[in-house]
Amino acid sequence: MRSDIVKMYKDVHTWTGIVSGLFLFIAFYAGAITMFKEPLQHWASAPSGFGELTPLEDTPELISRVLAEYPDARKGYQIILEPSAKYPARMNWELSNPDADDHDTPELMHANLTAEGHLFVARSGASPVAQLVDDLHRQVGLMLPHEIAMPIMGTVALLYGVALVSGVIVLLPTLVKDLFAFRLGKNLKRLWLDFHNLLGIFSLPFHLVMALTSAIFAFHDPIYAAQEQWVFQGPNSFIQRERRQPAAGAPTGEQLAPGQLVARLHEQQPGFEPRRMIYRDTPRQGPSLAIFGDNPRFGMRSPEGGVVGLDPVTGDILMTDYMPGLQNGMGATITSFFSLHFGSYGGNTVRWSYFLLGLGGAALFYSGNLLWLETRRKKLKQSAPLQQIEQRRSARFLGPLTVGVTLGCISGISVTIAAAKALPVLVSQPGHWHTAIYYAVFLAALGWAFLRGTARGAVGLLRASALATALIPAASLTVALLPGSGWNHSDSALVVDLVAAIGALGLALLAGRTARRISSAPQDSIWYVGAVPVAAPSGPTSLRQA
């Protein structure tokens, strides 16, 4: 390939990468954690006051009592078949909120019948922290209103797509030579480049999927609007066919009980494990029923599974557009885009793989920034070994920014997760506290990185991240040692403590390595901390040289 083209694409790769890299780090780190959103929410949520779900055979009674007493539920409600922290009771419905738009998470009320036959209605009390991590993932770390955050996220996704293509073009001429090379030598830039290329090329399909799907997640509304405006207009309005209606119109007659509907569904689709039933009743379309559930043999459209539409009167399957295994080719293709992004196929094996690929992605973006710094740092000339090296202003800005944002994100997420077990004791409404804690830690880390410079900042912040992440199992341990001070679930929630403990250990190791690294760094390295040995107290004057 022509060297000028490679050189040009190197520029493209550098600048698209440097603009999007830190946003992508946050998106990937938070996204990796989001693969375990449900166990995390379970870990973070106190046991609900609901107890066992109302038996399925008593559910018709529950439904009629709720519909009589709570008009909000008449528009639609859910029947839960598998309880979770988010859906702790047999039935729930949305509180009406005229100010909410499509993208706001609706507030739910939950209901059970007690053993004595009383109606027990309450909010779930589930911890909002898992949703916060998911929001940080979807909005690349910016907790701004949806309509501002989405264009930013979409732009980052497009830059990321261009960075992937240009990165491959840059690597192509030396791909065969470089692919399996991992040169652990004196040349640190070479080492980082080999690491970056290795990670990038072997997880390229994953990254291409993420870039393309995220762009659509960000921009689907404007694209649909543009299609409406320009494509399906005038001579082309005929392109839009009528949506096919169920032949018999809206179902009429006595609805089957939830238990009977589940049995009817099982007859027709034995491989599908239903998790929740969504009942709707609108004046235009009449009563309808959609059932969310899993079929591990297929890819599913959402992290919460696939969906099937049933006739609530007969229990016959009506709508299969999103039903794993019953979709037509086009429907399955669309579903594959979603499931490839969410990792909602292949069960726990894929979930863990995506977790690791997500962390690997975060490492890819971090190493990309390091390469930028290594390329731009001023090197000590052999001819003038005594000259003073003052790194460029861009390096003195990007170094602390990289260290502060990445480690600030890790510490912030860890501290706010750990706080889930302490906040309910301290405040009555933990909601916004989690966001405030995340940003307080994140901004403190960023400020610290700029105050201390890249090298010293990295050591301090790696230690802080290790400590912050260790707070997660420490919170559980505190509860175990002081009975009555909180809760510990003795099931899948333990994985959260285990993974956090391993993460804390890894970060502590990195902190130790980095501390040793900066004490031996040559003067022209970005890790150089000044002529003073590390052990000596460092005043503000020596910091400038980092």
Binding site: R2, D4, I5, K7, M8, Y9, D11, V12, L158, G161, V162, V165, S166, A211, L212, T213, A215, I216, F219, H220, I223, Y224, A226, Q227, W230, V231, F232, G234, P235, N236, F238, I239, Q240, R241, E242, R243, R244, D321, Q327, N328, M330, G331, T333, I334, F337
Partner: protein, 93 residues
């Protein structure tokens, strides 16, 4: 004459052409598929969704390759012509 060599000069102009003309091109390709390939699509049905999804790979492809035009003018010229063709096919026939 010196042989032409690529450089990142004019990157903003090329990228703008790639973004704007690339987006419109992707949109019209979705329309062409809907009209001539799928024989119409139901609003928000899976076929309609597919034509919307098409925008991402097409746009990223154009955005990544637009730097291979030799100048900003050429980028607009080629991508503009491609748009005229696709939109013409979509709206005039």
């Amino acid at each position: 004459m010196k042989p032409f060599r690529y450089s990142s000069r004019g990157w903003l102009g090329k990228a703008s052409a790639g973004l704007i003309a690339g987006f419109l091109l992707a949109l019209s390709c979705g329309g062409l598929l809907a009209r001539f390939g799928l024989g119409g699509v139901a609003p928000f049905g899976v076929e309609h969704q597919f034509t919307m999804w098409l925008v991402a790979p097409l746009l990223v492809t154009v955005l990544s390759t637009c730097f291979l035009f030799r100048s900003v003018r050429q980028a607009w010229l080629w991508l503009g012509t491609a748009n005229l063709l696709t939109w013409g096919l979509l709206l005039a026939i």
